[in-house]
Amino acid sequence: MDIKREDLLQLYYYLKLTRRLEDRVTSLYHQGKILGGAWTSNGTEAVSVGYGYALERNDIAAPYFRDMGVFLIRGISAKRIMAQYFGKKTGVTGGKEGNVHIGDLNFGVIGFPSHLADNYPVGAGAALAFKIRGEKRIAVACTGDGGTSRGDFHEGMNFAAARKLPMVFICNNNQYAYSTPLRLQMNIKDIAERALAYGIPSKIVDGNNVVEVYKAAKEAYEIARNGGGPTFIECKTMRMHGHSEHDSAKYVPRELLEAWKKKDPILNMEKYLWENSIAKKEELDGIDSRVKKEIEEAEAFTEQSPYPEPEDGLKGLYATPIAEE
């Protein structure tokens, strides 16, 4: 599969935007400026950027909480995301939700529930709707390694497989479910083995290589779009920060982090772009300046944005409010 130069540069741009946005959130969190917690995808950005970028405009994504790249690629702006972290009225959810609990159907993004892998059957339901209506759209859902032990992971995969739905399942295998390493989570070598039980073909990819993730996702999407049913893609990567930014992750062996640091997805991509003479350093620096500016603007926007009113918390419970006589 050939990837156009402009797409490669876009992948690089979104990797950088994801990293810099989350780095800025991390530093604001440590300054005590973020309202609640801060979860990031540091070290695993190639997963969300790769599978997010491979989607078509009308497809639906049901991402999880280390999928910042998907939000950005779908078109949810850094401004609205930053405001979301601060609980501002201009945030994606107007302050009703915080941080990565983002959803906006105008951009084809289903809101993330903290109960991991709940989005697997929910995503499959969107795919079911496409199949019933005969639309050439697909749905994709993602969860971490931890989520693959929950029932909804299995129920969602089984249902999608039995009905051959236009669905792709992604796993961001970042080695740790909060503090619990893979060896205490499961007695299998590859999470992809779980897909085998449902008759779902799977692919294991280097989750730190955005091009590889993108290609695998694109291929799986085309199979799903053409009636071939679901695929499971395990992206092997490493969470380089704690579960969330309050967590120093001392339980992760230092050597493991050192080894994965060399495989950083952004350094990886820069090397790929240079070695294949796709872009020069100056061009990538130019992209990075654009990213920095975007984040500065997001912060300025957030600062100027109002907070919601206390009574806004009473609004929006129902889509069809009970009619008063």
């Binding site: 994606v92 709707a129 129920e155 249902f159």
Partner: protein, 324 residues
């Protein structure tokens, strides 16, 4: 006007809504080829095909989640729980996903979950439960529980057309035991509106579901001894029709709250709290709750009869209240 059973009313509502709106589809265990454990969807498979009446794997959380996903992209799924008892397996999807989507991130989730509930059928602990209490404390859900064939049809149509997740509690004891005259033309029964089943002036019985019929039987007996009973059928459990509750209390000043659900922390506890909070000055006696015993539903007929509120329980409660 035609006479149809409670079960036929449910079936007609589903059939008419599926014909009216191609976005309406049904999913659940054995609903397709077999026509459902209670035969509610018999003939639908032949009429609508396997993609509008879907037999699912045994995975309530999975297919409820799938219904939510389909609803988010424009469909109006109706989920059938084979027995309401199995809805516990889908608790997380209903409570954390469906109920909160609109509040959290503005996305409507128009799903209906049909829950065949209730006892008196010797089904034991896993085929007899009232499940409305599990979800009563969850903002964002709507819960309805029709007691008549007329309401069964009208409320199901309203639930399907509603843009929020609705848990539709259909009492399986009533399926083939009661009949109603149904208009030939399309109608709905609005969600959130209680109904006065019987006008009276001495005591109010606030109830819903199969207990409406038990209350009617008791009211007939009480009438013979000169006591005039008003019966309010809540019809919608969440959100409660507070206005209807307060109106009847302010009229009769004496209240029995009756339901088949277990007593502690049940719907009746909330109804009676609302009354003391807002209508205290109108009360001429204590609010008496009549509910199922705080145990799992027992199997043996003798124990199940003792578990479920009976006419005699209502008579003694009302007689006690009348003395105030």
């Amino acid at each position: 006007m035609r006479e149809i059973t409670y079960l036929e009313a449910i079936k007609e509502a589903l059939d008419e809504e599926m014909t009216r709106d191609p976005g309406v589809f049904i999913l659940g265990e054995d609903v397709g080829v077999y026509g459902g454990a209670f035969r509610v969807t018999e003939g639908f498979y032949e009429k609508y095909g396997e993609w509008r009446i879907l037999d699912t794997p045994l995975s309530e959380s999975g297919f409820t989640g799938a219904a939510i996903g389909a609803a988010l992209v424009g469909m109006r799924p109706v989920v059938e729980m084979q027995f309401a008892d199995f809805i516990s397996c889908a608790f997380d999807q209903l409570v954390n996903v469906a109920a909160k989507n609109h509040y959290r991130w503005g996305a409507a989730t128009p799903i209906v979950v049909r829950a065949p509930y209730g006892g008196n059928i010797h089904g034991g602990a896993f085929h007899s439960q009232c499940i409305e209490g599990f979800f009563f404390n969850v903002p964002g859900l709507k819960i309805v529980a029709p007691s008549t064939a007329y309401d069964a049809k009208g409320l199901l149509k309203a639930a399907i057309r509603d843009n929020d997740p609705v848990i539709y509690c259909e009492h399986k004891y009533l399926y083939r035991r009661i009949k109603d005259s149904i208009p030939d033309e399309d109608y709905i029964v609005p969600i959130g509106k209680a109904r006065i089943v019987l006008e009276g002036k001495d005591v109010s019985i606030i109830t819903y579901g199969a207990m409406v019929h038990t209350a009617l039987e008791a009211a007939q007996k009480l009438k013979e001894s000169g006591v005039s009973v008003e019966i309010v059928d809540l019809r919608t459990i969440l959100p409660l029709d507070k206005k209807a509750i307060f109106n009847t209390v302010n009229k009769t000043n004496k209240v029995v709250v009756l339901h088949e659900q277990t007593k502690t922390g049940g719907v009746g506890a909330e109804v009676s709290s609302l009354i003391t909070e807002y209508c205290f000055d109108y009360l001429d006696g204590p609010i008496i709750r009549i509910a199922a015993q705080d145990t799992p539903v027992p199997y043996s007929a003798q124990m199940e009869e003792a578990f479920i509120p009976q006419v005699k329980d209502i008579l003694s409660a009302v007689e006690k209240l009348i003395r105030y």
